[in-house]
C-alpha cells in the first residue's frame, strides 16, 4: 500500500508543498492529497491594488485544482478536526482521511468579529479592510467616493499577513489622492500596535522617513479596543482616540478554526507551534507546517512559504524514510514594498540578518531598501512568477531558499542595530 501525505489547505504553501512532494516522490510509493474548503485560489498580494483600481477581484482568482500537478488528488471539503493520536483528519463532508504524514497549510484567518464595533453599523460603509476579496472590492468603491477628510490605516494587532501591506496602502493612498488632486483635503494617519513603522531598526528608519516625506502621520503602540463608527473614532485599550471619516483596518488574525478543535495541535491563537529549523510540528513528528499557519517569528508572507517549501518537501521525504531531518529553514523572507509613483522598495532578510541596503540577490541585482522603478516592475512581475514558478514548486533562478549575504551591506545593521535595540522590539 502506498503511504499517504495529506496537505490541509490548497493556498500558497499547500500548493507549493504538494507539487514539490509529487515531483520528488513516486506515485506508486506515495499518495499526495490536498484538502481545501473551496476552489478559489486568490493571489493575495494583488488585493493591495484593488482599492486603487489597479487590479480587479476576478483577475486575482484561479481554480485551486488547476494549480496542482497531475497525480495530486484534490478533495473539496472543510476540515473539521485533526486527531493526532489516530493519525487522521475528520472532514466536514463526514468522511475521515488517514495520513502517514500531515502537512498543515491552512494559513491565517481574519477575525474582524473579535474587535468591538469593527463589524458594526459602519462595516463596509466607513470601516473597511482590503485583506480579503469582498473587502478590497468594497473599499475600491469607498475610495472612489472619498474626496476629503481623515483616512486612517490601522493594524488591530500583530501578527498579520504581509506586515508591510498596510504601509504600502498608506504610500499608495498618498500617491492616489495626489493624482486625483485632492491630497490637500485628505489627512492620512497610520496607526500601529508596534513602536515604529517596522520592528527592525534600519528598515524602520527608512520607512518612517518615507511616511514623513509623504505627509502620513504615525500613531504607535496603539492596541485597537473599539471601532466606534458612529462617532468616527478608533479607541485604544489604554483610552487614546484617533478620529476617522474612513478607516482601513487590518483585522486580528488567528489560525484556522479547526486547529483549536484539534487537541494538542495549536497555541491559544490557533497557530501551530513549529520547529523553526525543521518545520516539524512540536506536537507530533508526523506533522509538518508551512506558511501562515506556523507560530514562527518569520513574516507571514508568500515568499516565506515559497522558501519553506523546499525544506518541508525534503524533510517530509526524509521522515517517510525514517531518516533524520537535515534540511534547515533560516527564516528567509523577501518583500517588495510598493511606495507609489511607480516605485517600490525591496527587503530581503532572515531570522539573523535584518533588512539592510545593498543589492539582491547579489551585487548587481535589484536595489535593496531604496525606492526604484525596477523594484516596482519586480512587484508587478511577481504575479506571473507566483502562478508559474512558485505554485508549481520550482525555484526562482538565482534566488536560493537560504538568504544570500552577497550584495548586502551588513555593516549597516551592525551600526544601526545597536541603536535600534533599545527602542525597537516588543510591546
Amino acid at each position: 500500500m502506498p503511504k499517504r501525505i495529506v496537505v490541509l489547505g490548497g493556498g500558497t504553501g499547500g500548493t507549493i508543498a504538494a507539487n514539490r512532494l509529487r515531483r520528488s516522490l513516486a506515485e506508486e510509493d506515495v499518495d499526495v492529497v490536498v484538502v481545501d474548503r473551496d476552489d478559489d485560489h486568490v493571489y493575495q498580494p494583488g488585493l493591495l491594488f484593488v482599492p486603487f483600481g489597479m487590479s480587479t477581484p476576478s483577475r486575482l482568482v484561479r481554480p485551486r485544482a488547476r494549480q496542482l500537478l497531475p497525480g495530486v488528488r484534490f478533495v473539496r471539503s472543510a476540515v473539521d478536526a485533526v486527531d493526532l493520536q489516530a493519525g487522521s483528519v475528520a472532514l466536514d463532508d463526514g468522511s475521515t482521511l488517514g495520513y502517514d504524514v500531515l502537512v498543515v497549510a491552512s494559513g491565517a484567518s481574519l477575525l474582524p468579529g473579535e474587535t468591538e464595533g469593527l463589524t458594526g453599523g459602519g462595516w463596509r460603509r466607513s470601516v473597511h479592510t482590503f485583506y480579503d476579496l469582498e473587502g478590497a472590492a468594497a473599499l475600491a468603491g469607498a475610495m472612489a467616493r472619498f474626496d476629503g477628510g481623515e483616512l486612517v490605516v490601522n493594524v488591530a494587532d500583530m501578527p498579520i499577513k504581509c506586515p508591510v501591506a498596510p504601509l504600502e496602502f498608506s504610500f499608495l493612498a498618498d500617491w492616489w489622492f495626489r493624482r486625483r488632486r485632492v491630497r490637500d483635503r485628505v489627512h492620512l494617519t497610520f496607526v500601529t500596535p508596534l513602536d515604529g513603522a517596522f520592528t527592525k531598526a534600519v528598515c524602520n528608519r527608512e520607512l518612517s522617513g518615507l511616511l514623513a516625506a509623504k505627509g502620513v502621520d504615525v500613531v504607535t503602540e496603539f492596541n485597537t479596543g473599539t471601532v466606534d463608527a458612529d462617532a468616527g473614532r478608533l479607541v485604544s485599550y489604554d483610552g487614546r482616540e484617533v478620529p476617522f471619516d474612513l478607516a482601513v483596518v487590518v483585522p486580528l488574525h488567528g489560525g484556522a478554526p479547526y486547529v483549536g478543535r484539534s487537541p494538542g495541535l495549536g497555541d491559544p491563537l490557533g497557530f501551530v507551534p513549529t520547529d523553526p529549523v525543521t518545520l516539524q510540528a512540536r506536537s507530533h513528528p508526523d506533522v509538518f507546517v508551512i506558511g501562515d499557519a506556523t507560530d514562527l517569528a518569520a513574516s507571514k508572507a508568500g515568499s516565506v512559504a515559497h522558501f519553506e517549501g523546499e525544506v518541508v518537501a525534503h524533510n517530509v521525504a526524509r521522515h517517510l524514510q525514517g531518516r533524520p531531518l537535515d534540511a534547515a529553514f533560516d527564516g528567509h523572507a523577501n518583500c517588495f514594498i510598493e511606495s507609489g509613483f511607480g516605485k517600490a522598495l525591496l527587503i530581503d532578510f532572515n531570522d539573523e540578518v535584518e533588512p539592510v541596503p545593498g543589492h539582491f540577490p547579489g551585487p548587481v541585482g535589484l536595489p535593496l531598501l531604496r525606492e526604484s522603478r525596477l523594484n516596482h516592475l519586480g512587484k508587478l512581475a511577481f504575479e506571473q512568477l507566483y502562478w508559474h514558478v512558485l505554485l508549481p514548486g520550482r525555484s526562482i533562478p538565482g534566488v536560493p531558499s537560504r538568504m544570500p549575504r552577497s550584495g548586502k551591506l551588513l555593516a549597516v545593521a551592525a551600526a544601526g542595530g545597536e541603536a535600534g535595540r533599545s527602542g525597537a522590539g516588543g510591546r
Partner: protein, 105 residues
Amino acid sequence: MAVMTYAGTDVDVDAEGFLTDASQWNEGVAAEIARAEGIGELTDRHWLVIGVMRREFEEKGAGPAVRALAKVSGVGIAELYQLFPKGPAKEAAKIAGIPKPRGCI
C-alpha cells in the same frame, strides 16, 4: 545590565528594568516592582495574571503577547489594561520577573 535590590533581594535587570534571570524572582520582588511602576497593591487578579506569565515563560521560553495572555488567563483584554495600564504584556512581564515579550514581524 545592572543590579537592583527589591525587598532585600538583589536581581539582575536589563536597561528597561526587566529581570534577566527569572529564578531570582520572588513575590516580595513582584510587590515592590509593582509599587515602583505605580500599580500599588497587587490584587488576586494581578497575581492570577502574574502566575500565567511565569508558567507560559517556563513552558515556552517567552511571555505571551496581550491576546494570547487574555486567552490563556481568561482575563479579558480590557480588564488586563485596567490591571496593567501601561500595557499588560510588558508590565506584567516586568512584575513577573521574566524578559520583555518580543514583538513579531
